[in-house]
Symmetry: C2
């Protein structure tokens, strides 16, 4: 396999996989106080757009990877905004 | 501009821009307790690999966008691991 392609695949795995431990931590601790709601609004919007981009390109790897990331980051955002977290002050949700 | 390309650009802006509010929140509050160190290890590794991918492809937009994300996410990771945060218990750093 070409080195550039291999690096691209490894980078994709890291980017997609990075949301798994954060989602697990939110489930485990219920604490989202230090997470930025604005970050996750942008992240979820970005993954939705990447998924649409994949659909328009007809590229299944782009669709699948970004759809998974969309679901994981949307879950984290909903937990952040949901008000069911422990230790979140009302002010924290705006930052 | 072609719709697919426009969506790709918008998606890039969201993905790159998403780390700015989280980095700002870390600076402002000093609180990284709810952030997953494992997430940021994968994120930083992913952006480093994407930057190398951009260098090998000779694509400046890929290099610049991912180098910025690498710096922002590395800053967040260093603050998470640095032990200078408020409210972080030793156990939290492992999750």
């Amino acid at each position: 396999m070409e080195a550039t392609l291999l690096i691209g695949y490894l980078a994709s795995i890291c980017s997609v996989g990075s949301f798994v431990p954060q989602a697990c931590k939110v489930v485990k601790t219920g604490d989202t106080s230090a997470l930025s709601a604005r970050m996750y609004v942008l992240t979820v919007t970005g993954f939705a757009l990447w998924t649409v981009f994949g659909v328009l390109k007809g590229e299944w790897p782009i669709i699948i990877a970004n759809a998974i990331c969309f679901c994981l980051s949307a879950f984290i955002l909903l937990r952040k905004l949901g008000g069911c977290e422990r230790g979140n002050r009302r002010d924290d949700r705006k930052v």
